[in-house]
């Protein structure tokens, strides 16, 4: 898998994580998942993804802590898009210096657009058969 086409989904809600995975796989991206910030740091250490989709409120290590650690260890090696239930998603993104934000509940197309923005266009044609 080319890391440039890979998304790391950091989300503690298993259903939501699975959903994001399906959406992104459908769109032709590779996906790995992490249930909290600490796991995400491990995944990142294994291989740098092309994009991190980051939930903010998580157990063990939340999104704020992850973003701080990530910046300390890897700088801006991968763009981060915040996926948040907060009332002001934009403010959340600004708080941690993220590159974008998705507000829950999001549109399917917004998720794909976010991935496309950082990883190149979705492989739409290949999956049109779905």
């Amino acid at each position: 898998v080319s890391p440039a086409r890979e998304v790391l989904v950091v989300e503690d809600d298993a259903d939501l994580a699975a959903l994001l995975e399906i959406i992104l796989l459908d769109a032709g991206y590779a996906v790995r998942s992490a249930g909290d910030g600490a796991q995400a740091l491990e995944r990142v250490a294994e291989r740098m993804p092309g994009l991190v989709l980051l939930d903010m409120r998580m157990p063990v290590m939340n999104g704020w802590e992850f973003a701080r650690e990530f910046a300390a260890r890897h700088g801006r090696a991968a763009p981060i898009v915040v996926v948040t239930a907060a009332e002001n998603a934009r403010l959340r993104a600004e708080e941690i210096g993220a590159d974008g934000w998705l507000e829950k509940p999001f549109e399917l197309e917004d998720v794909i657009a976010a991935a496309a923005r950082f990883l190149g266009p979705a492989a739409g044609a290949a999956h049109a058969g779905f």
Binding site: L16, L19, F106
Partner: protein, 451 residues
């Protein structure tokens, strides 16, 4: 007249307190003027009648002379006693009255501070001593500025409170201050949040205030509860969003993959959007009120926003035509999303409250320095007795009527808040059975000089 009734007439509300000491009831029909008049009349009558009587009864002039001297002395004695009696009774009444006032003052659950024109605290009740956690009321009978300094009085948000802004200073300037909220540290260091109502006391109407009386209520508990409620609302709204996101995205995903009934999936997606809006409103109305949500003003064409918003709502309004008329572009400097929210709210209401269908008209007009947007429907209208409360938070003018079409009762409250924060105003005209016209006005942005 019964003693009770008389007491109540003297000082409203104190009749009952006086009834405990019936012996000291005042016969206050005797005003000073009446006493003097009575004294003069009795005196003149006594002098004339007693002189006549003595002259008729006593022939001896020497004896008569002596008798008249005795009569004079007796008269002085009797009137002196009468005078003593009246003064004493008056004094007693006064003392009883002031004791009663004092008892009421002391018995009040709210703290009361009386401040004189020189801004010195001259009176406090027991509740005030307790509120400030003072050991003795003497500690509070100090210049107001000393008290401010010692307790660190400041605004609710912690910013310093200027001397001239204090409720009592404003009352001494002639203002009646209601529900002025501030915080301070009691003498034991405990942080206290209070609501103050202060009024000037004038010797006579029209005179400059001689005293200010401030009623101070501890609202720390209320505030804490309010904060907890807002916090809970925020958490609940937050928690609801993840499940909403999952359900909505799966519906969209299935639709995209041509799985399942497309109508059913669209309905699910639409209802999820509706739920999301409700969650959003619940959270927003409290946040916005608290002042968390800041505005992001930008220059934009209000007529374009009106057209855009109406277009977006047209899809949902199958039975209504939404007609928009705008003229030239009108540029305002405002938070575009928020103003869009106001327009949405007004059009949604217009649609909701014209259930038989019909046209909803919306227009933008420039009136002098103001841009006025109005939205008119030909629906059920608002009954006159409910009109005054239309903009009240959580008030639903049609609740419990045949025209209760749902809603949380927050749209217009939010709209008013948003418009007011932009220095604008919002109003409506309505006749029951004929429909309503809601309008709001925003200041037109001044031309920006090309740099």
């Amino acid at each position: 007249v019964s003693s009770d009734a008389q007491g109540e007439r003297d000082i409203p509300g104190l009749g009952r307190a006086r009834a405990h000491s019936p012996g000291q009831v005042r016969r206050s029909a005797l005003t000073p003027f009446r006493i003097v008049l009575l004294y003069a009349a009795v005196g003149i009558a006594w002098i004339l009648l007693s002189d006549r009587a003595l002259e008729a009864l006593v022939r001896d002039p020497v004896y008569l002379q002596e008798l008249q001297t005795v009569k004079g002395a007796a008269y002085v004695c009797v009137t002196a006693f009468l005078l003593y009696y009246l003064i004493r009774r008056n004094e007693q009444d006064r003392r009883v009255q002031s004791e009663e006032v004092r008892a009421v003052f002391e018995g009040m659950a709210d703290a009361v501070l009386v401040v004189d024109a020189a801004s010195r605290v001259v009176g406090v009740n027991r509740a005030a001593v307790e509120l400030f956690k003072a050991h003795h009321e003497r500690e509070l009978l100090v210049p107001l500025s000393d008290l401010m300094l010692r307790t660190g009085m400041r605004h609710l948000d912690g910013t310093p409170l200027a001397f001239a802004q204090t409720a009592t200073r404003r009352a001494l300037a002639g203002e009646v201050v209601t529900a002025f909220e501030e915080r301070f540290r009691a003498f034991d260091g405990k942080e206290t949040v209070v609501s103050i109502t202060a009024a000037p006391i004038r010797p006579r109407p029209g005179d400059p205030p001689r005293l200010a009386v401030a009623v101070v209520r501890d609202i720390a508990e209320e505030k804490r509860f309010e904060e907890m409620r807002e916090e809970f609302l925020a958490t609940a709204a937050h928690e609801l969003r993840t499940p909403l996101a999952v359900v909505k995205a799966y519906a969209q995903l299935m639709r995209k993959r041509s799985q399942g009934d497309p109508v059913a999936l669209d309905t699910i997606a639409r209802q999820i959007d509706r739920l999301t809006r409700i969650v959003h409103q619940l959270l927003e109305v409290s946040r916005f009120r608290v002042g968390d949500a800041e505005l992001r003003p930008e220059r934009f064409d209000l007529s374009a926003l009106l057209v855009e918003t109406a277009d977006a709502l047209r899809e949902a309004a199958e039975t209504h035509r939404i007609l928009v008329s705008t003229g030239a572009e009108v540029v305002v400097k405002a938070d575009r999303a928020r103003i869009g929210q106001v327009i949405t709210s007004l059009i949604e209401n217009a649609v909701r409250f014209s259930p038989q269908g019909g046209d909803v008209e919306a227009a933008l007009e420039r009136r002098g320095a103001e841009a006025v947007v109005w939205v008119r429907d030909h629906g059920v209208g608002i009954a006159p007795e409910r009109q005054a409360r239309v903009f009240e938070r959580f008030y639903r003018a049609h609740a419990g009527t045949a025209h209760d079409y749902g809603g949380l009762g927050v749209g217009l409250d939010m709209s008013r808040e948003i418009v007011a924060r932009h220095g604008g105003r919002i109003w409506f005209e309505s006749a029951a059975g004929e429909g309503s016209t809601f309008s709001f006005a925003l200041p037109v942005a001044p031309e920006e000089r090309p740099s």
